[in-house]
């Protein structure tokens, strides 16, 4: 999880994730297009994002395609957010069940 936070602690890398979120399955050239970053810098950032499992890559024909991988981000949410959200959902469910029972 350290790697995820380190990878996210950089505006350029977040910008790359935003681009992949907007359009998944991009090549390195597509990702560089219109960005104020050298191809070398983008390559370096992508390697860090991939090591943190925030970017997944596949070979597609002769191209290497990059995808935003939301699984680690989901895990962060589960770890710290859902715990609180859960109680509210359970309470709402109970309320719904009670009210529906009463009306039945």
């Amino acid at each position: 999880m350290d790697e995820v936070f380190k990878a996210l602690a950089d505006a350029s890398r977040r910008a790359l994730l935003d681009r992949l979120h907007a359009r998944s399955g991009q090549t390195l050239s597509e990702l560089c297009d219109g960005l104020d970053m050298s191809r070398q810098a983008v390559t370096k950032h992508l390697a860090i994002l991939e090591a943190a499992d925030l970017v997944a890559t596949i070979r597609h024909g002769r191209e290497k395609l990059h995808y935003l991988n939301p699984v680690p981000i989901h895990q962060i949410g589960e770890r710290w957010i859902r715990k609180f959200e859960r109680d509210r959902l359970v309470a709402l469910n109970d309320l719904k069940r009670r009210l529906e029972k009463r009306d039945a």
Partner: protein, 162 residues
């Protein structure tokens, strides 16, 4: 060849054999897959159904099966009339041992144009895979609430395709 719509990766501390069992045992999938049982003999050409509370949500067919390395199946969501009409999409699992972890890559592709299934998929996979990792590594799944399950099935109605 169109490029895949979704590629998900998770690294799990386990063996390919144990992960394969976790992916194919209905009693186990129920624990992490939004309460769904995935039922099949997992042989090429066989049907596979995803059932929740006895109701079939998705109808699939096994397209490739090479335990414990690779699996592919077609996916048709039948719990919604619009989704039911769409051509089936395709799911592929790739399991690769890397030291003491297994890299699981899930690719979901070949969706119909303007697919209604696609947004609900986008919502569901990260949850399923992070639950799977959690249950294998800690023995405990993340709790899945009925409200969350319902929201995945209706994600397409909120227009959250992005």
């Amino acid at each position: 060849m169109r490029k895949p719509e979704f590629v998900y990766v998770t690294y799990i501390e386990t063996t390919p054999e144990a992960l394969w069992r976790a992916l194919t045992d209905p009693a186990f999938t129920k624990k992490y897959w939004m309460n769904c049982e995935l039922v099949s003999d997992w042989k090429v050409g066989s049907p596979m159904t995803m059932k929740r509370d006895g109701e079939v949500k998705n109808e699939c067919e096994i397209l490739e099966s090479d335990p414990p390395r690779r699996m592919a199946y077609s996916w048709r969501s039948i719990h919604d009339p619009d989704m039911k009409k769409e051509k089936p999409s395709r799911v592929t699992y790739l399991l690769e041992q890397q030291g003491n972890v297994v890299k699981l890559t899930v690719t979901h592709e070949n969706f119909a144009d303007d697919s209604k299934t696609l947004p609900s998929i986008a919502f569901g996979w990260p949850m399923v895979l992070s639950n799977l990792k959690s249950i294998i590594e800690t023995g405990r799944p993340m709790p899945v609430e009925a409200a969350v399950v319902v929201s995945t099935e209706t994600a397409h109605q909120r227009g959250s395709a992005a």
